[in-house]
Symmetry: none
Subunit: 232 residues, 2 copies
């Protein structure tokens, strides 16, 4: 379920509006890239591959309609036009050139956010959506999206705590995780002294995922410090 925060490209010259949108998007789990000119915007669109583009029509170097046209020559990334021009013919022109939505300034933050969600929803329905983010190491396979674990093709049954512990380890595969970190992440802050829990569940995990549980090859002990999940 944990895909990275959507990347929003904002092409807008007025610093005031930039600050406004930065604040609006900041609290809502979006990553933001800013461009002050059409030229820079086109470059960022190509370079960063954003999930949605917010485009001001009144740019200093090139007209926003032209930017829309150029973007649509090679990408279908959703474009939401933000413009002070409220004339109908402006909206029609932008939409027919390939923009997906058109908001007239001034607009409300909540409406903008809702329309961004619509744009992202559209994009996510497009074909070519990769199967799932799946961790594979050796004969072990962990599908985070479906919350399923396989060993040698066989599905395993893990209890909730076992699964949370495995996920914590796998997500930082290769890195060393201290007892504190693991207890904090799996059981919560009130349990960071109960290292005993760790031993029990580490052992249960090894029973289920290790070919030879007595001689661990994936789930390694770092004596005195913590545990580490072996990366490929």
């Amino acid at each position: 379920m944990d895909r990275p925060a959507p990347l929003v490209l904002l092409i807008e010259d007025e610093p005031q509006m930039r600050r406004f949108l930065r604040a609006a998007l900041g609290g809502h789990d979006y990553r933001l890239v800013e461009a002050a000119t059409a030229k820079e915007g086109l470059a960022q669109a190509a370079g960063r591959n954003p999930d949605v583009i917010l485009l001001d029509l009144g740019l200093p170097d090139t007209d926003g309609l032209e930017v829309t046209r150029q973007l649509r020559e090679w990408t279908r990334t959703p474009i939401i036009v933000l413009s002070a021009r409220g004339r109908e013919q402006d909206k029609v022109a932008a939409l027919d050139l390939g923009a997906d939505d058109y908001l007239t300034k001034p607009f409300g933050v909540e409406e903008l956010l809702a329309r961004i969600r619509v744009a992202l929803r559209h994009a996510s329905l497009q074909p070519g959506d990769a199967p799932d983010p799946v961790f594979e190491m050796g004969e072990l396979k962990v599908d985070l999206a479906q919350r399923q674990v396989f060993r040698a093709g066989q599905q395993l049954h893990l209890t909730p705590t076992e699964y949370r512990l495995l996920v914590a380890l796998v997500r930082h595969a290769g890195k060393l995780l201290t007892h504190r970190q693991l207890l904090q992440e799996v059981w919560g802050s009130n349990f960071i002294t109960q290292t005993h829990y760790l031993r029990i569940y580490i052992m249960q995990l090894r029973q289920k995922i290790e070919p030879d549980p007595t001689r661990p090859r994936l789930l390694l002990t770092e004596p005195g410090v913590g545990y580490r999940f072996k990366a490929d």
Copy 2:
């Protein structure tokens, strides 16, 4: 290959606005179906399979938001909301329920036509999921458009709540759905703690759709976490 003129479904009670839109669409190679109530609109949406839906929020029998919600249970046909309500929270609510666009009355004909073109453009990019969205797994068949469920060819009768629960599970087949997610989607945000509702209805569903209800093969329990509908 000339495809037929796009079919537009207009759900709107005011005769005045109907006449206006009839005239607007008339000259532009669209076919138009009209419905004056929510009930009729839902029926037409299922029966005529329109390419885009224009929906007024102020219907006499049911709120337009509820219509949006019900449509989105089984179809992704673009919905453009036409409303006299211009408040931001109305827009956000409609868009988050699955509407694709929101126009506040009064609006210009040209803008509406442009936004219809955007909606059709989006739809044409979708993969060819032409016919009724029907889920089939094993001997179970769920027809979302007709709101009908079959097991081994026999039609089943499900209560409204049972049906909504099944739809929620089937639409994310393979994925694990937490208690919270299911309660949220089927009963609403005020019920996310009433996990015993789930147990009751899960059991009733199993009685109806499982060959051997005591040994579930489609509707699986993930202890401590939620439920999962088995994908093929």
